[in-house]
Amino acid sequence: MKKYNRGTTVGGSIILLLLLASAFASSLVTMNPTASDLMNRLKPPNFSHILGTDHLGRDVFSRLVHATRLSVGVSVAALSVSIATGLSLGLVAGYFRGVIDSLLMAVINILLAFPGMILSLAIVGIAGTGLGNAVFAVCVVSWTGYARVVRGMTLSLKERDFVKAARISGSSDMKIIARHILPNLLTTVIVYAATNISSIAMQLAALSFLGLGAQPPAPEWGIMLNEAKGYISTAPWLILAPGSALVLMISAFNLFGEGLALCLNEGKRVGI
């Protein structure tokens, strides 16, 4: 820990608040996020609906709060899957080299030849729309970063004296990976994850916005924006609420990630 960073604290607190909101969404808001009230369509913000109502008369505030569950939760899920895949494949390839390594690098290089958003769109477009496929598509795009970072570091850690010493003294490969290599990778992976999650969240939201991710009537910020698209001129508050929520979440992730990278002095290695 080189120095204290205000950005990390602020970003971290916002993320924590969002996580809390998603955990206690139903007790925070009493109104049903999917109950439509066709008598009260497209009402601007007022006392009973502080952020107004949408084209089906659903309460925007309630939808906004419930959406944290999908928007934040799904991003975290996609992040975890990407980390797990990238970390394990990168470790194995970097440590054992050989055919696995060449194969992994070939696959990564091919995947990196596709612009990320376009590859995930194509996967969802072909495999079919839906939240599960969207998460899968985003993971296909983002695990490569982890695999590359982890593989590179494993390669260099393997040459370090403490690993050589452990090998000479007869530790098994699994033990060396678990005791000596993995702990030395973790900081970098955490910093990389902290800087990567904003782009994962952004991609998932974009997929939902395009109608390929989470499906209506589920409350999700991307979907809310998609539904608001037709009402830009008549009901701009429908854009403002989920739009600000998205910007807040992504900026919080950025703030947290940048700050963490600065604190732990890992900026160079993860490329920011």
């Binding site: 091919i110 958003m117 376009i118 194509a122 072909i126 916005f209 910007v247 950025n254």
Partner: protein, 314 residues
């Protein structure tokens, strides 16, 4: 240098081959039998015999390798198959819509360059002033704004409230202003921050200190020494950002009903028009890979050390 270029070219060919294989693999995820999809689109409930006949016509009864080779051979002749929806060759459909998308991405790229560099330099010159702090905050927030949020915000503010610019379509040059700004702005902000921190980092180098002790003007130091060095990592990233621009164009086209490839892709996904989706992915990956290949060569020209250090770090 030539050896390096040859190595890169070989890599390019290998990657393009890999790209075609992976795109082909994507077809494995198609839900249901493509022959049935095609027949079903014609509105008939296909009988077993019809499906088998269609499979033969589409070559689906051959082995996977034979199918790939057949498909790849057609690709080399720019034959991407025919669209299920329109029955026209996919390449014709793409050719028809490509200019609109190029207009958008090229415009955004140029706008990004001409705004990011001066603003970044301005921030370095104004370091530690309130101007810099506020620019810092603004660029940070815009950087974290997804294209569709920014686009809809701008559309509301500029088209609906201020009535300055038209919102939907691409009839006049004025129509392209909002989509281009929407596409360029978040990326430009990312670059402003990157270029700024790179320049500041380079200005901290020993040789900059030494140039100062030789009494060279700060302007000479910034423009003829620091900028070039600060730019090398940026140029590398620009090739990669082009991918984000291409991806972002889909969202922007969908907001502003811009009749380009992205919009066409979304319609085709909705219609389960797989040949179009595959052709689009393949085309974008090829463009992306080719641009990055050129960027690699260009960097080599900027930084003479590259051909000598490449490969040592791996």
């Amino acid at each position: 240098m030539w050896k390096y270029a040859a190595k890169k070219t070989l890599g390019l060919v290998a990657i393009l081959f890999g790209v075609s294989v992976l795109t082909f693999v994507l077809t494995a995820w198609i839900r249901g039998n493509p022959a049935e999809v095609v027949l079903g689109r014609a509105g008939v409930d296909p009988s077993r015999a019809d499906v088998v006949m269609m499979e033969q016509r589409m070559g689906l009864d051959q082995s996977i390798v034979a199918r790939y080779l057949d498909w790849a051979r057609n690709l080399l002749r720019l034959d991407f198959g025919t669209s299920y929806t329109s029955g026209l060759p996919v390449i014709e459909e793409i050719k028809y819509r490509l200019p609109a998308t190029l207009h958008l991405t090229a415009g955004a790229f140029v706008l990004m360059l001409v705004t990011a560099v001066p603003i970044a330099i301005f921030m370095v010159v104004k370091k530690d002033s309130w101007t810099e702090y506020s620019l810092n905050a603004v660029t940070f927030i815009v950087m974290g704004t997804p294209g569709f949020v920014l686009g809809m915000g701008l559309a509301w503010l500029i088209s609906v409230r201020l009535r300055l610019l038209p919102m939907v379509g691409n009839k006049t040059p004025a129509h392209s202003v909002l989509p281009i700004i929407t596409l360029a702005l978040p990326m430009a902000c990312r670059y402003i921050r990157l270029i700024r921190s790179n320049i500041i980092e380079v200005l901290d180098e020993d040789y900059i200190f030494l140039l100062r002790t030789r009494g060279l003007k700060e302007r000479t130091i910034l423009f003829s020494h620091a900028l070039k060095n600060a730019f090398i990592p940026i140029v590398n990233l620009m090739g990669i950002s082009l991918g984000s621009l291409l991806g972002g164009s889909i969202v922007v086209e969908s907001i502003f009903s811009w009749p380009g490839l992205g919009n066409y892709l979304m319609i085709s996904i909705g219609n389960r028009d797989y040949p179009v989706v595959l052709a689009y992915v393949l085309l974008m990956a090829t463009v992306f890979v080719a641009i990055n290949y050129l960027v690699d060569l260009f960097i080599c020209f900027l930084d003479p050390r590259i051909p000598f250090t490449e490969g040592k770090g791996r």
